[in-house]
Symmetry: C2
Subunit: 287 residues, 2 copies
């Protein structure tokens, strides 16, 4: 389980490197990821790290190429890790039939249904496996200072992983995140497809997870969504439910929720707010 360098591009005075490794969380399949390291990073000068989890149909390249994160990360002196969004080539019947389930749609959970449990553990892949592989590779990343961000399905991943692991991550943010997956079509499809019982999905629902967040821990969460986002309008994102759950626990004022007029779900929206998200995480990562 060690990294193999596939390619490297200089970018913003740092490097964007594509690695692959044999993933046990993904049942022995080859996993790809991109790692941006600012020019200042080295094993003697380790930098904090921000994970970017991408959305449905995306890969490890999407955020690196279209997200507009690298410039701000270089300026802040933080690394950005771009994992893939699912295992690739598991060979499960029907895996490639839908754009919102299976390949490109791992949903950042641990599959329990028999046909998916061998390969679809994107939760473990992100939370344990990639950090361990990066630590071993000694690239100049300080894994003790880690934050999470993501878009759409990846926003769900970032928020839910943060909320499931109090104290482990410095901050989490979502760009048009799926906030309440048990109550939307995308989430229901994923949970009923990957999990033995859809009720298992409750443990991955950021809105439901809020009630178990420790009272003594700061809640460093931010999110933005656009009012012209068709998926928002279709009820897939449900930021209002998240907002309400925050009010229920009396912590609405700790969380930034940006309602952005006329923005949609595309990477034009993502790249517009990327520098703000990176800057906000950098404050938590370098505090």
């Amino acid at each position: 389980m060690s990294l193999e360098k596939k390619s490297q591009n200089k970018a913003f005075d740092g490097t964007l490197t594509k690695y692959s490794f044999t993933s046990s969380a993904l049942g022995g399949l080859t996993a790809n990821l991109n790692v941006f390291l600012p020019g200042s990073a080295s094993s003697s000068n380790k930098v904090p790290v921000l994970y970017y989890l991408a959305g449905l149909t995306c890969t490890e390249d999407t955020g690196a190429q279209k997200g507009g994160f690298l410039s701000a990360a270089a300026k802040e002196g933080i690394a950005v890790v771009f994992p893939d969004t699912s295992p690739r080539g598991a060979g499960i019947a029907g895996e490639d039939n839908d754009w919102d389930f299976g390949t490109g749609a791992g949903f950042y959970l641990t599959a329990t249904k028999e046909q998916y449990s061998e390969h679809y553990d994107m939760y473990k892949h992100i939370v344990d496996e990639i950090p361990a592989v990066l630590e071993k590779a000694d690239l100049g990343i300080d894994g003790s200072r880690t934050s999470l961000m993501g878009h759409s399905m990846g926003g769900h991943g970032a928020l839910s992983i943060y909320l499931k692991n109090p104290g482990k991550f410095r901050s989490a943010s979502g760009l048009a995140p799926i906030c309440n997956p048990t109550e939307c079509q995308w989430g229901q499809k994923a949970f009923s497809g990957y999990l033995n019982s859809p009720s298992e999905g409750r443990q991955y629902d950021s809105t439901l997870l809020l009630s178990s967040w420790p009272k003594d821990k700061p809640l460093n969460i931010g999110l933005d969504y656009g009012t012209a986002d068709q998926f928002y309008k279709d009820g897939q994102l449900r930021p209002e439910a998240f907002d309400e759950a925050l009010r229920d626990i009396g912590r609405r004022d700790e969380v930034l929720i940006g309602r952005r007029e006329d923005y949609d779900h595309s990477y034009y929206f993502v790249s517009t707010f990327a520098p703000e998200h990176v800057g906000w995480h950098a404050k938590h990562l370098t505090a």
Copy 2:
């Protein structure tokens, strides 16, 4: 010949709009282009415009999605127009066989060879047709203040179109531009394929065009290339020939040539230097 709006995304407080129109320069085919307008632009507050010409295999989307130009353009208050790189669907035998000729590789020239002359006039498309269509649409663009930039084949387009039209454009810049196409494989293939005589290609060669630039006109040109760019190393770009031609006319000091250590030909390179290019053009466009 009027614009049809295909889609619109809000971006950086402005709009990125995809249009199509029936192009006479491209022999009646449908042409696509993206137009970024900063939020400040309107028919009563027209803004200057920067054209971005993309490279081989690219489309009107590549620069808009991966180039990192929009943020800087929004900040400077200038529009950016992203044309396609060739006609699409002309139906010429062999047109789609190669990645560096035909579809996606129009080379910003006026084809004279019989089978290409009906559809392949990307020169006219960029220089005359798109500006006229935009003017007619009254989007808030001031066509009297226009600059050109481009990547690779598009860098060739930007520099050669600027040099062929003294006084028409405010400035031109290239990111890893093909500077001397008559002396490189890409250019020779394009000129021998599109033109009745390859010697016609001399009129599109930026290095050769320098000698006819008027002595009394400022030469507002800048370019950047990376030392790890495989196409540079293979002799496709030849910035040294351009440099030498500038010295021959005694105007080397008017032109910015950035040799960027370890950068390659990718959009990671383009997006790194995009803000500098936009900022430099903005100075000329708002002077």
